[in-house]
Protein backbone atom coordinates (compact mmCIF):
# COMPACT_ATOMS: atom_id res chain seq x y z
CA UNK A 1 0.00 0.00 0.00
CA UNK A 2 1.34 3.42 -0.97
CA UNK A 3 1.70 5.74 1.98
CA UNK A 4 2.86 9.32 2.51
CA UNK A 5 4.42 10.43 5.80
CA UNK A 6 6.25 13.51 7.01
CA UNK A 7 9.33 13.16 9.22
CA UNK A 8 11.69 15.41 11.08
CA UNK A 9 15.23 13.99 11.20
CA UNK A 10 17.93 15.12 13.58
CA UNK A 11 21.42 14.11 12.42
CA UNK A 12 24.28 13.89 14.91
CA UNK A 13 27.41 15.83 14.03
CA UNK A 14 29.27 12.74 12.76
CA UNK A 15 26.67 11.96 10.09
CA UNK A 16 25.87 15.30 8.46
CA UNK A 17 28.33 14.64 5.63
CA UNK A 18 26.94 11.15 4.88
CA UNK A 19 24.66 11.08 1.79
CA UNK A 20 21.71 9.23 3.29
CA UNK A 21 18.70 10.65 1.42
CA UNK A 22 19.82 9.33 -1.99
CA UNK A 23 19.78 5.81 -0.50
CA UNK A 24 16.10 6.27 0.38
CA UNK A 25 15.38 6.75 -3.32
CA UNK A 26 17.79 4.15 -4.67
CA UNK A 27 17.47 1.32 -2.13
CA UNK A 28 13.90 1.77 -0.84
CA UNK A 29 12.17 3.14 -3.94
CA UNK A 30 10.79 6.17 -2.10
CA UNK A 31 9.86 9.60 -3.35
CA UNK A 32 11.44 12.26 -1.18
CA UNK A 33 10.07 15.78 -0.85
CA UNK A 34 12.45 17.91 1.22
CA UNK A 35 10.78 20.90 2.87
CA UNK A 36 13.67 22.26 4.90
CA UNK A 37 17.26 21.26 5.68
CA UNK A 38 19.90 22.86 7.84
CA UNK A 39 23.29 22.15 9.39
CA UNK A 40 23.80 24.28 12.48
CA UNK A 41 26.98 25.86 13.81
CA UNK A 42 27.66 22.79 15.96
CA UNK A 43 27.60 20.57 12.88
CA UNK A 44 24.27 18.89 13.70
CA UNK A 45 21.71 18.58 10.94
CA UNK A 46 17.94 18.96 10.70
CA UNK A 47 15.83 17.70 7.84
CA UNK A 48 12.09 18.03 7.34
CA UNK A 49 10.80 15.84 4.52
CA UNK A 50 7.92 13.81 3.21
CA UNK A 51 8.37 10.19 2.12
CA UNK A 52 6.01 8.52 -0.34
CA UNK A 53 6.18 4.80 -1.13
CA UNK A 54 5.26 1.32 0.07
CA UNK A 55 4.48 1.40 3.81
CA UNK A 56 6.84 -1.53 4.43
CA UNK A 57 9.64 0.17 2.51
CA UNK A 58 9.16 3.36 4.53
CA UNK A 59 9.48 1.35 7.74
CA UNK A 60 12.67 -0.32 6.48
CA UNK A 61 14.03 3.06 5.38
CA UNK A 62 13.41 4.44 8.87
CA UNK A 63 15.36 1.54 10.40
CA UNK A 64 18.16 2.23 7.93
CA UNK A 65 18.26 5.92 8.91
CA UNK A 66 18.15 5.13 12.62
CA UNK A 67 21.21 2.87 12.15
CA UNK A 68 23.23 6.07 11.63
CA UNK A 69 22.15 7.45 15.00
CA UNK A 70 19.66 9.79 13.33
CA UNK A 71 16.61 10.48 15.46
CA UNK A 72 13.31 10.28 13.57
CA UNK A 73 10.33 12.26 14.80
CA UNK A 74 6.96 11.44 13.39
CA UNK A 75 5.48 14.34 15.30
CA UNK A 76 6.75 17.25 13.25
CA UNK A 77 9.08 19.66 14.94
CA UNK A 78 9.81 21.87 11.96
CA UNK A 79 7.84 24.66 13.60
CA UNK A 80 7.05 24.83 17.28
CA UNK A 81 4.04 26.91 18.32
CA UNK A 82 3.93 27.99 21.93
CA UNK A 83 0.25 27.88 22.83
CA UNK A 84 0.87 29.90 26.01
CA UNK A 85 2.41 32.74 24.03
CA UNK A 86 -0.12 32.80 21.18
CA UNK A 87 -2.81 35.46 21.65
CA UNK A 88 -4.96 34.23 18.72
CA UNK A 89 -4.81 37.56 16.92
CA UNK A 90 -4.73 35.64 13.65
CA UNK A 91 -2.04 37.68 11.91
CA UNK A 92 -0.34 34.42 10.91
CA UNK A 93 -3.34 33.09 9.03
CA UNK A 94 -2.90 34.87 5.73
CA UNK A 95 0.84 34.11 5.73
CA UNK A 96 0.42 30.35 6.19
CA UNK A 97 0.02 29.07 2.63
CA UNK A 98 -0.75 25.41 3.50
CA UNK A 99 -3.24 26.60 6.18
CA UNK A 100 -1.48 24.63 8.92
CA UNK A 101 -2.39 27.61 11.10
CA UNK A 102 -6.15 27.92 10.83
CA UNK A 103 -9.22 28.99 12.78
CA UNK A 104 -10.57 26.20 14.97
CA UNK A 105 -13.66 28.29 15.52
CA UNK A 106 -14.56 31.12 13.16
CA UNK A 107 -16.81 32.69 15.79
CA UNK A 108 -14.16 33.18 18.49
CA UNK A 109 -11.29 33.24 15.97
CA UNK A 110 -9.38 30.73 18.08
CA UNK A 111 -6.24 29.77 16.13
CA UNK A 112 -5.16 26.14 15.88
CA UNK A 113 -2.07 24.50 14.39
CA UNK A 114 -2.19 21.33 12.30
CA UNK A 115 1.43 20.17 12.28
CA UNK A 116 0.81 17.63 9.54
CA UNK A 117 0.12 20.44 7.05
CA UNK A 118 3.14 22.57 8.05
CA UNK A 119 6.01 22.78 5.51
CA UNK A 120 8.21 24.85 7.84
CA UNK A 121 8.32 27.80 5.44
CA UNK A 122 8.90 30.04 8.46
CA UNK A 123 6.39 32.75 7.50
CA UNK A 124 4.60 32.34 10.83
CA UNK A 125 7.90 32.87 12.65
CA UNK A 126 8.49 36.12 10.77
CA UNK A 127 4.91 37.30 11.16
CA UNK A 128 3.99 36.50 14.76
CA UNK A 129 4.26 39.73 16.79
CA UNK A 130 4.29 37.72 20.02
CA UNK A 131 7.05 35.34 18.96
CA UNK A 132 4.77 32.33 19.51
CA UNK A 133 6.23 30.38 16.57
CA UNK A 134 9.84 29.25 16.36
CA UNK A 135 11.81 26.89 14.17
CA UNK A 136 15.20 25.21 14.16
CA UNK A 137 15.53 26.12 10.49
Amino acid sequence: MIAKHKYFFHFPKCETDTPIVCRLVRDYDLEVNIFRAKVNAEGEGYLLLELTGEEAQIERAKDFICSFGVSVNTVDKGVIRNTDTCTHCGNCLSHCAPHALHLRDSHTRFVDFDESRCVACGQCVANCPMGACSTVF
Binding site: C89, T108, N127
Partner: protein, 393 residues
Protein backbone atom coordinates in the same frame (compact mmCIF):
# COMPACT_ATOMS: atom_id res chain seq x y z
CA UNK B 1 -33.90 55.20 33.22
CA UNK B 2 -31.29 54.07 35.76
CA UNK B 3 -28.52 55.92 37.57
CA UNK B 4 -24.93 54.91 38.24
CA UNK B 5 -25.74 54.75 41.95
CA UNK B 6 -28.68 52.38 41.39
CA UNK B 7 -26.56 50.11 39.22
CA UNK B 8 -23.70 50.12 41.74
CA UNK B 9 -26.15 49.22 44.51
CA UNK B 10 -27.28 46.22 42.47
CA UNK B 11 -23.65 45.22 41.77
CA UNK B 12 -22.74 45.50 45.46
CA UNK B 13 -25.77 43.36 46.35
CA UNK B 14 -24.70 40.74 43.81
CA UNK B 15 -27.89 41.30 41.83
CA UNK B 16 -26.61 43.10 38.76
CA UNK B 17 -27.59 41.67 35.39
CA UNK B 18 -24.52 41.77 33.19
CA UNK B 19 -24.08 40.72 29.56
CA UNK B 20 -21.11 40.85 27.23
CA UNK B 21 -21.37 43.12 24.20
CA UNK B 22 -21.84 40.02 22.05
CA UNK B 23 -24.69 38.67 24.21
CA UNK B 24 -26.34 42.10 24.21
CA UNK B 25 -26.77 41.96 20.42
CA UNK B 26 -29.13 38.98 20.60
CA UNK B 27 -30.86 40.29 23.71
CA UNK B 28 -31.80 43.60 22.10
CA UNK B 29 -32.83 41.86 18.89
CA UNK B 30 -35.14 39.52 20.80
CA UNK B 31 -36.53 41.85 23.46
CA UNK B 32 -36.05 45.34 22.04
CA UNK B 33 -34.02 48.24 23.40
CA UNK B 34 -36.66 49.38 25.91
CA UNK B 35 -36.94 45.96 27.53
CA UNK B 36 -33.14 45.52 27.43
CA UNK B 37 -32.69 48.84 29.23
CA UNK B 38 -35.10 47.65 31.92
CA UNK B 39 -33.52 44.22 32.30
CA UNK B 40 -29.79 44.75 31.81
CA UNK B 41 -27.58 46.76 34.15
CA UNK B 42 -24.18 46.54 32.53
CA UNK B 43 -22.64 45.45 29.22
CA UNK B 44 -18.98 44.52 29.17
CA UNK B 45 -16.80 45.53 26.23
CA UNK B 46 -13.15 44.74 25.59
CA UNK B 47 -10.26 44.81 23.20
CA UNK B 48 -6.85 43.18 23.03
CA UNK B 49 -4.24 44.40 20.59
CA UNK B 50 -1.02 46.35 20.10
CA UNK B 51 -1.25 49.84 21.55
CA UNK B 52 1.98 51.71 20.81
CA UNK B 53 1.19 54.77 22.91
CA UNK B 54 1.64 52.92 26.20
CA UNK B 55 4.25 53.03 28.92
CA UNK B 56 4.84 53.25 32.64
CA UNK B 57 6.18 55.50 35.34
CA UNK B 58 8.60 53.73 37.69
CA UNK B 59 10.07 54.80 41.01
CA UNK B 60 13.18 52.81 41.91
CA UNK B 61 13.68 54.07 45.47
CA UNK B 62 16.85 55.84 46.53
CA UNK B 63 20.33 54.32 46.56
CA UNK B 64 22.96 54.85 49.26
CA UNK B 65 24.56 57.31 48.63
CA UNK B 66 21.79 59.01 46.71
CA UNK B 67 21.62 59.49 42.94
CA UNK B 68 19.72 61.91 40.69
CA UNK B 69 19.40 59.76 37.61
CA UNK B 70 19.97 61.48 34.28
CA UNK B 71 20.10 58.40 32.07
CA UNK B 72 18.66 54.98 32.77
CA UNK B 73 18.40 51.62 31.01
CA UNK B 74 16.23 48.61 31.85
CA UNK B 75 17.54 45.44 30.21
CA UNK B 76 19.37 47.80 27.87
CA UNK B 77 16.22 49.75 26.93
CA UNK B 78 16.48 53.50 27.71
CA UNK B 79 13.86 54.92 30.07
CA UNK B 80 13.25 58.68 30.10
CA UNK B 81 14.79 60.19 33.23
CA UNK B 82 14.10 63.90 32.90
CA UNK B 83 12.01 63.66 36.05
CA UNK B 84 12.68 63.66 39.80
CA UNK B 85 15.73 61.79 41.14
CA UNK B 86 14.72 58.14 40.83
CA UNK B 87 11.64 58.38 38.63
CA UNK B 88 11.61 57.20 35.01
CA UNK B 89 9.14 56.64 32.18
CA UNK B 90 9.55 53.55 30.04
CA UNK B 91 7.80 53.69 26.68
CA UNK B 92 6.44 50.63 24.88
CA UNK B 93 8.06 51.37 21.52
CA UNK B 94 11.51 52.22 22.88
CA UNK B 95 14.18 50.10 21.19
CA UNK B 96 17.04 48.51 23.04
CA UNK B 97 20.13 50.69 22.91
CA UNK B 98 22.31 49.73 19.93
CA UNK B 99 19.49 47.78 18.23
CA UNK B 100 20.48 48.03 14.58
CA UNK B 101 16.82 48.89 13.82
CA UNK B 102 16.30 48.93 10.05
CA UNK B 103 19.99 49.33 9.16
CA UNK B 104 19.74 45.88 7.63
CA UNK B 105 16.17 45.96 6.34
CA UNK B 106 13.82 44.60 7.54
CA UNK B 107 14.99 44.71 11.15
CA UNK B 108 13.76 42.04 13.57
CA UNK B 109 13.19 44.29 16.62
CA UNK B 110 13.19 41.35 18.98
CA UNK B 111 13.19 43.27 22.26
CA UNK B 112 12.18 46.71 23.51
CA UNK B 113 10.16 48.69 26.02
CA UNK B 114 7.03 46.57 25.63
CA UNK B 115 8.99 43.41 26.42
CA UNK B 116 10.53 44.99 29.55
CA UNK B 117 7.04 45.98 30.72
CA UNK B 118 5.83 42.41 30.13
CA UNK B 119 8.78 41.01 32.12
CA UNK B 120 8.11 43.38 35.02
CA UNK B 121 4.40 42.48 35.14
CA UNK B 122 5.37 38.81 34.97
CA UNK B 123 7.54 39.16 38.09
CA UNK B 124 10.84 38.63 36.25
CA UNK B 125 13.91 40.61 37.25
CA UNK B 126 15.35 43.19 34.87
CA UNK B 127 18.80 44.78 34.90
CA UNK B 128 18.74 48.46 35.81
CA UNK B 129 21.71 50.69 34.97
CA UNK B 130 21.70 54.40 35.77
CA UNK B 131 24.10 57.31 35.30
CA UNK B 132 24.24 60.79 36.74
CA UNK B 133 26.54 63.83 36.68
CA UNK B 134 26.49 63.94 40.50
CA UNK B 135 25.46 66.81 42.75
CA UNK B 136 26.31 67.68 46.32
CA UNK B 137 23.13 66.16 47.70
CA UNK B 138 23.01 63.34 45.11
CA UNK B 139 26.69 62.38 44.82
CA UNK B 140 26.36 58.96 43.19
CA UNK B 141 27.23 58.88 39.48
CA UNK B 142 26.56 55.27 38.54
CA UNK B 143 24.32 52.47 39.77
CA UNK B 144 23.65 48.95 38.56
CA UNK B 145 21.29 46.35 40.01
CA UNK B 146 18.61 43.79 39.22
CA UNK B 147 15.02 44.64 40.11
CA UNK B 148 11.62 43.02 40.10
CA UNK B 149 8.33 44.92 40.18
CA UNK B 150 8.08 44.14 43.92
CA UNK B 151 11.30 46.11 44.51
CA UNK B 152 9.80 49.23 42.94
CA UNK B 153 7.91 51.76 45.03
CA UNK B 154 5.55 52.47 42.15
CA UNK B 155 5.00 50.97 38.72
CA UNK B 156 2.11 52.88 37.21
CA UNK B 157 1.04 52.30 33.64
CA UNK B 158 0.09 55.59 32.02
CA UNK B 159 -0.95 55.26 28.40
CA UNK B 160 -1.50 58.43 26.37
CA UNK B 161 -3.54 56.60 23.73
CA UNK B 162 -5.40 53.28 23.95
CA UNK B 163 -8.65 51.85 22.63
CA UNK B 164 -8.73 53.56 19.25
CA UNK B 165 -12.44 53.76 18.45
CA UNK B 166 -11.95 52.38 14.96
CA UNK B 167 -8.98 51.84 12.67
CA UNK B 168 -8.23 51.56 9.01
CA UNK B 169 -7.62 48.36 7.09
CA UNK B 170 -4.16 48.08 5.56
CA UNK B 171 -3.44 46.93 2.02
CA UNK B 172 -0.37 47.26 -0.19
CA UNK B 173 -0.97 48.23 -3.82
CA UNK B 174 2.71 48.50 -4.74
CA UNK B 175 4.73 45.84 -6.53
CA UNK B 176 6.91 44.95 -3.54
CA UNK B 177 6.32 43.59 -0.03
CA UNK B 178 6.12 46.21 2.73
CA UNK B 179 6.54 45.86 6.50
CA UNK B 180 4.23 47.92 8.70
CA UNK B 181 2.83 48.09 12.23
CA UNK B 182 -0.18 46.33 10.75
CA UNK B 183 2.08 43.46 9.74
CA UNK B 184 3.64 42.27 6.53
CA UNK B 185 1.67 43.35 3.46
CA UNK B 186 2.18 41.48 0.23
CA UNK B 187 2.31 43.31 -3.13
CA UNK B 188 -0.60 43.87 -5.51
CA UNK B 189 -3.13 43.83 -2.66
CA UNK B 190 -2.66 40.13 -1.94
CA UNK B 191 -3.54 40.46 1.76
CA UNK B 192 -5.14 42.91 4.17
CA UNK B 193 -4.84 43.43 7.90
CA UNK B 194 -7.05 45.18 10.41
CA UNK B 195 -6.90 45.89 14.14
CA UNK B 196 -10.13 46.20 16.11
CA UNK B 197 -12.36 44.02 18.23
CA UNK B 198 -15.31 45.40 16.23
CA UNK B 199 -18.61 44.73 18.01
CA UNK B 200 -16.78 44.03 21.30
CA UNK B 201 -14.70 47.21 21.20
CA UNK B 202 -15.46 49.73 24.00
CA UNK B 203 -15.81 52.95 22.02
CA UNK B 204 -17.75 51.26 19.21
CA UNK B 205 -20.38 50.36 21.83
CA UNK B 206 -20.43 53.94 23.09
CA UNK B 207 -19.85 55.83 19.84
CA UNK B 208 -20.84 59.26 21.17
CA UNK B 209 -19.07 58.94 24.55
CA UNK B 210 -22.31 58.97 26.54
CA UNK B 211 -20.95 56.77 29.35
CA UNK B 212 -17.19 56.53 28.83
CA UNK B 213 -15.46 59.71 29.96
CA UNK B 214 -12.64 60.97 32.12
CA UNK B 215 -12.83 59.09 35.41
CA UNK B 216 -14.54 55.97 34.01
CA UNK B 217 -13.34 52.82 35.77
CA UNK B 218 -11.69 50.37 33.40
CA UNK B 219 -10.21 46.88 33.58
CA UNK B 220 -6.64 47.32 32.38
CA UNK B 221 -4.80 44.02 32.02
CA UNK B 222 -6.43 42.67 35.17
CA UNK B 223 -5.97 45.81 37.30
CA UNK B 224 -8.68 48.30 38.11
CA UNK B 225 -7.73 51.54 36.39
CA UNK B 226 -9.44 54.51 34.89
CA UNK B 227 -9.63 56.90 31.98
CA UNK B 228 -7.33 59.77 32.98
CA UNK B 229 -7.76 61.94 29.89
CA UNK B 230 -8.95 61.97 26.30
CA UNK B 231 -6.40 59.97 24.37
CA UNK B 232 -3.92 61.67 22.09
CA UNK B 233 -5.27 62.17 18.56
CA UNK B 234 -8.83 61.98 19.96
CA UNK B 235 -10.84 63.10 16.94
CA UNK B 236 -14.59 62.80 17.44
CA UNK B 237 -15.52 64.85 14.35
CA UNK B 238 -14.96 62.01 11.94
CA UNK B 239 -16.80 60.12 9.25
CA UNK B 240 -19.74 58.33 10.92
CA UNK B 241 -22.40 55.99 9.62
CA UNK B 242 -26.13 56.52 10.28
CA UNK B 243 -25.94 54.77 13.64
CA UNK B 244 -23.32 57.29 14.84
CA UNK B 245 -20.55 54.70 14.68
CA UNK B 246 -17.26 56.08 13.35
CA UNK B 247 -16.06 54.67 10.04
CA UNK B 248 -12.48 55.80 10.70
CA UNK B 249 -10.05 56.51 13.58
CA UNK B 250 -12.13 58.84 15.82
CA UNK B 251 -11.98 58.74 19.63
CA UNK B 252 -9.18 57.47 21.88
CA UNK B 253 -8.66 57.05 25.62
CA UNK B 254 -5.80 57.85 27.99
CA UNK B 255 -5.68 54.96 30.48
CA UNK B 256 -3.85 54.34 33.72
CA UNK B 257 -3.64 51.56 36.33
CA UNK B 258 -1.28 50.04 38.86
CA UNK B 259 1.04 47.62 37.06
CA UNK B 260 1.55 45.64 40.26
CA UNK B 261 -2.02 44.39 39.95
CA UNK B 262 -1.80 43.37 36.31
CA UNK B 263 -1.59 39.92 34.77
CA UNK B 264 1.10 39.06 32.24
CA UNK B 265 -1.46 37.30 30.07
CA UNK B 266 -2.85 40.70 29.09
CA UNK B 267 0.42 42.68 28.90
CA UNK B 268 2.50 41.40 26.01
CA UNK B 269 5.57 42.82 24.36
CA UNK B 270 5.39 42.43 20.60
CA UNK B 271 7.70 42.80 17.60
CA UNK B 272 6.90 43.86 14.07
CA UNK B 273 9.51 43.03 11.48
CA UNK B 274 10.66 46.17 9.69
CA UNK B 275 8.65 48.44 12.01
CA UNK B 276 9.63 48.09 15.65
CA UNK B 277 8.37 47.00 19.05
CA UNK B 278 5.10 47.66 20.83
CA UNK B 279 2.89 46.44 23.64
CA UNK B 280 -0.31 44.44 23.24
CA UNK B 281 -2.77 45.20 26.01
CA UNK B 282 -6.08 43.86 27.19
CA UNK B 283 -8.67 46.48 28.14
CA UNK B 284 -12.20 45.94 29.38
CA UNK B 285 -14.73 48.73 29.90
CA UNK B 286 -18.17 48.30 31.46
CA UNK B 287 -21.01 50.28 29.97
CA UNK B 288 -23.93 51.09 32.29
CA UNK B 289 -27.25 50.61 30.53
CA UNK B 290 -28.81 53.85 31.73
CA UNK B 291 -31.51 54.12 29.05
CA UNK B 292 -32.84 52.49 25.85
CA UNK B 293 -30.60 54.60 23.60
CA UNK B 294 -27.49 53.29 25.31
CA UNK B 295 -28.91 49.76 25.19
CA UNK B 296 -29.46 50.11 21.44
CA UNK B 297 -25.93 51.38 20.87
CA UNK B 298 -24.51 48.38 22.77
CA UNK B 299 -26.26 46.07 20.32
CA UNK B 300 -24.10 47.23 17.42
CA UNK B 301 -23.09 44.36 15.13
CA UNK B 302 -19.91 43.75 13.19
CA UNK B 303 -21.83 44.11 9.92
CA UNK B 304 -22.88 47.64 10.89
CA UNK B 305 -19.34 48.82 11.66
CA UNK B 306 -17.24 49.92 8.70
CA UNK B 307 -13.53 50.57 8.32
CA UNK B 308 -11.71 52.31 5.50
CA UNK B 309 -9.20 50.41 3.38
CA UNK B 310 -5.97 52.37 3.02
CA UNK B 311 -2.96 51.75 0.81
CA UNK B 312 0.01 51.61 3.18
CA UNK B 313 2.51 51.77 0.33
CA UNK B 314 1.54 55.30 -0.73
CA UNK B 315 -1.59 56.96 0.70
CA UNK B 316 -0.82 56.25 4.34
CA UNK B 317 2.82 57.40 4.39
CA UNK B 318 2.04 60.44 2.21
CA UNK B 319 -1.08 61.33 4.22
CA UNK B 320 -3.16 61.84 1.09
CA UNK B 321 -6.42 61.01 2.84
CA UNK B 322 -7.43 58.77 -0.07
CA UNK B 323 -9.10 55.48 0.78
CA UNK B 324 -9.85 52.61 -1.53
CA UNK B 325 -13.22 51.64 -0.12
CA UNK B 326 -14.79 50.39 3.06
CA UNK B 327 -15.53 46.97 4.54
CA UNK B 328 -17.52 45.95 7.57
CA UNK B 329 -16.11 43.85 10.41
CA UNK B 330 -18.28 40.87 9.60
CA UNK B 331 -16.58 40.73 6.21
CA UNK B 332 -13.15 41.32 7.75
CA UNK B 333 -13.59 38.72 10.50
CA UNK B 334 -14.57 36.08 7.92
CA UNK B 335 -10.92 36.01 6.80
CA UNK B 336 -11.53 36.63 3.10
CA UNK B 337 -13.18 39.48 1.22
CA UNK B 338 -13.89 40.43 -2.36
CA UNK B 339 -12.20 43.76 -2.89
CA UNK B 340 -11.55 45.66 -6.11
CA UNK B 341 -12.45 42.59 -8.12
CA UNK B 342 -10.18 40.20 -6.27
CA UNK B 343 -10.54 37.71 -3.46
CA UNK B 344 -8.20 38.88 -0.70
CA UNK B 345 -7.13 37.11 2.52
CA UNK B 346 -7.63 39.20 5.66
CA UNK B 347 -5.94 38.80 9.01
CA UNK B 348 -6.12 40.70 12.27
CA UNK B 349 -3.65 42.16 14.72
CA UNK B 350 -6.36 42.40 17.37
CA UNK B 351 -7.40 39.20 19.13
CA UNK B 352 -11.16 38.69 19.14
CA UNK B 353 -10.66 35.57 21.22
CA UNK B 354 -8.83 37.46 23.97
CA UNK B 355 -11.34 40.32 23.83
CA UNK B 356 -14.16 37.82 24.38
CA UNK B 357 -12.22 36.34 27.31
CA UNK B 358 -11.84 39.80 28.88
CA UNK B 359 -15.55 40.56 28.38
CA UNK B 360 -16.36 37.36 30.28
CA UNK B 361 -13.84 38.05 33.05
CA UNK B 362 -15.14 41.57 33.61
CA UNK B 363 -18.72 40.29 33.51
CA UNK B 364 -17.89 37.83 36.26
CA UNK B 365 -16.11 40.48 38.38
CA UNK B 366 -19.15 42.76 38.16
CA UNK B 367 -21.60 39.93 38.90
CA UNK B 368 -19.51 39.00 41.93
CA UNK B 369 -19.66 42.59 43.19
CA UNK B 370 -15.88 43.03 42.78
CA UNK B 371 -15.97 45.78 40.16
CA UNK B 372 -18.12 48.87 40.72
CA UNK B 373 -18.75 51.43 38.01
CA UNK B 374 -17.72 55.05 38.23
CA UNK B 375 -19.53 58.01 36.76
CA UNK B 376 -17.29 60.15 34.54
CA UNK B 377 -15.99 63.34 36.12
CA UNK B 378 -15.88 64.99 32.73
CA UNK B 379 -17.15 64.04 29.28
CA UNK B 380 -14.77 63.35 26.43
CA UNK B 381 -14.67 66.16 23.85
CA UNK B 382 -17.19 65.67 21.04
CA UNK B 383 -16.21 68.59 18.84
CA UNK B 384 -12.59 68.65 17.86
CA UNK B 385 -10.52 67.47 14.94
CA UNK B 386 -6.96 66.33 14.42
CA UNK B 387 -4.43 68.74 12.94
CA UNK B 388 -1.35 67.96 10.92
CA UNK B 389 1.99 69.28 12.17
CA UNK B 390 2.99 72.53 10.42
CA UNK B 391 6.44 72.56 8.81
CA UNK B 392 8.01 76.00 9.22
CA UNK B 393 11.47 77.46 8.66
Amino acid sequence: MKTYAQINDRIAAGKAVVLTAEEMIDYVETHGAQQAADDIDVVTTATFGPMCSSGCFLNFGQTIPKIRITECWLDGVPAYSGLAAVDAYLGATQLRQHDSANLIFPGDFEFGGGHVIEKLVGGESVEMFALSYGTQEYPRREFKTRLTIQDLNQAIMVNPRNCYQNYNVAINCSDHRIYTYLGQLEPHGRNMTYCSAGQLSPLLNDPLYETIGIGTAVWLAGARGHVHAEGTQHCPTCLRTENGVPAEGAGTLGLTANMKHMSRRYVRGCSFKGYGVSLALGVGIPIPILNPTIAQRCAVRDRDIYAQVTDYSSDYPMKTGRTLGSLNYEQLRSGRVDFLGKSVEVSSLSSYSMALEICELLKQEIRDGRFLLSQPLQALPREQSMKACPERR
